[in-house]
């Protein structure tokens, strides 16, 4: 097979990869882009999620002060978790349980401890993530088949990147001589756009397709009961670890700030970004935050009665394999370094969505024809037809 007809095949493979499910691929890209910014979108829409610093030097309340403020304002409300989103402009997310049995997230001002509102019933963040992540197909036994459906797209996306670079001859030249011709008709414009955004998105498409493929592998491993985790399940605390009280009242628990201080002794540089309160009398108090490597959390599980640290999960505890695999999710979502990284991810997510669209537009204008020609050539072996297609293979 000649070099030219080989590149022709690569071109056809590239053209057909996302088809005929292009609209599905487009919606997955668009929902993914929305999911990256979902927290910010809710922040814009919902004033109670915002936290404005009253004065420039106003200090943030400690976790213990926050829980005390909530207990004072609503003595019957049970606080189950407190988490501080990345970014000073967000209110704290506090998971609470009400006497009527509802479990909700309330937004609490980190400077005053005031409960600013209850998270709306329609959870936009969770919805976009569920739509993008598993196409809303419920998880029943193991991973949902919607998860497989979406994560499988990582493979054609990776193949699109590779074949795209093969057919785009000397693509690196595009970095130095960017071409985007506006006045030569729609086909030329979309072709230029597809190539130009393609080369600048190489890193992003590689990240998204590799991490997406990892999600597929992750589901396959889990559903086949294969574990690569070095983390052991922390058993409940023993009966001896929980004090008995003669008068039948619950024994006092250590305060949250003390718990964080104890955890910080074990985890140097810990900036606690969440606290999970014990779920029952024998479970641990968990404290965690990002470490020096922003893609991973470090956590400590403490006995809430005496403050003993029963388990630690540090970055250094991860195996080399886990270091890679645990980095996959934050790399996919762009949720590891605040608003700027999210904006970069969302921008390239939008660009990727546009590439699906522009790819389709190019396809309707050219590939259908080229494929028909290729079939004709195979059937007739006519030199005329071959010449026609090869001129199109230049994309």
């Amino acid at each position: 097979m000649s070099k030219k007809s080989r590149s022709k095949i690569w071109f056809l493979v590239h053209s057909w990869l996302a088809l005929p499910i292009w609209f599905f691929v487009l919606i997955v890209c668009v929902t993914g882009t929305l999911a990256v910014l979902s927290q910010e979108i809710v922040w814009l829409a919902n004033p109670s999620m915002r936290a404005s610093q009253p004065t420039d030097d106003a200090p943030r309340l400690s976790y213990q002060q926050v829980i005390e403020a909530i207990n004072k304002a609503e003595p019957l409300t049970v606080v189950q978790s407190i988490s501080r989103p990345d970014g000073a402009h967000f209110a704290l997310d506090v998971g609470v349980s009400y006497p009527d049995g509802r479990s909700v997230v309330v937004y609490v001002n980190p400077y005053s401890g005031v409960i600013q509102g209850v998270a709306p019933e329609f959870n936009f963040q969770a919805f976009t993530r569920a739509l993008h992540g598993w196409w809303l197909v419920p998880f029943t036994n193991g991973y949902s088949w919607g998860w497989y459906l979406v994560s499988f797209l990582g493979l054609p996306l990776l193949a699109s990147l590779v074949t795209g670079l093969v057919v785009y001859k000397r693509f690196w030249k595009g970095f130095f001589r960017p071409t985007l011709r506006f006045r030569h008709g729609a086909r030329i414009f979309w072709g230029d756009f597809h190539r130009l955004s393609g080369i600048w998105s190489i890193w992003f498409i590689a990240v998204i397709s590799i991490t997406g493929t990892w999600f597929l592998i992750q589901a396959l491993l889990f559903d086949n009961q294969i574990s690569i985790s070095t983390e052991t399940n922390l058993p409940s605390m023993s009966r001896e670890a929980v004090p008995l009280s003669a008068d039948g009242t619950p024994p006092p628990r250590i305060d949250l700030d003390r718990a964080i201080a104890i955890a910080a002794q074990e985890i140097p540089g810990l900036e606690a970004s969440f606290v999970s309160l014990p779920g029952n009398a024998y479970s641990h108090l968990e404290v965690g935050g990002r470490g020096w490597y922003p893609l991973m959390f470090q956590t400590a599980a403490l006995n809430p009665y005496n403050g003993e640290v029963d388990a630690l999960r540090l970055i250094s505890d991860r195996s080399a394999l886990e270091f890679v695999t645990e980095s996959m999710r934050p790399l996919h979502t762009g949720d590891f370094g605040g608003i700027w990284i999210k904006l970069i991810w969302a921008f390239f997510g939008l660009l990727l969505s546009m590439m699906v669209l522009s790819g389709l537009l190019i396809w309707t204008k050219r590939t259908a024809l080229a494929t028909a020609n290729a079939f004709r050539r195979n059937n007739k072996k006519s030199p005329m037809a071959t010449r026609n297609e090869l001129s199109e293979a230049g994309l």
């Binding site: 499910i21 599905f24 349980s97 509802r102 479990s103 019933e121 197909v137 193991g142 009966r239 003669a246």
Partner: protein, 180 residues
Amino acid sequence: MSNVTTIPCRSRLKALWHKWRFHLNILLLLIPLGFMPAYFADEAMERGDNGLGERDVGDIQVGPWSLRLAEMHDAAPTLDGLAGYMKEFNAALCDTCIGQVKATYLRIGKPRSLRTAGAIFSGSPYRMGTELPVPMKTPPDAELWITMEGWDGILHQASIPLRRASQATIAWLNAQGGKP
């Protein structure tokens, strides 16, 4: 002979594929639309908007204390990997016992000691949940035992027929041909 019959058949398939291939998109988009009501119903259930669970079992007196029990889903136990079949129950402690009850456990069959009291409830006293293992060989007339432990170490127990706690589980056990 075979060539004569397969070629038109194949080309008909090809024609069908050509005509309908882009309708795959519509099918794929119908999936989340179809699951959307179930998704929102599930979210509301998790949040507790529709009460303790899908099916209320009622108040159960356990010594001086009581709790309200509910099935999270009015459905058969679900397979949880190697752990076997699990059935989710939710419970709410009575208002006066919230400060006194240290832990609440659920088990099929009478526990011999506190060590084997069963699955512990987790969550807030207003709505806590547990996953009860249901062995496939459970007899349909089995009893569901509730053990409650006080902060001073005192124990109280009560039992109700499994049939009262979850009719769906009994139906499932019968379908498995569960024998004692």
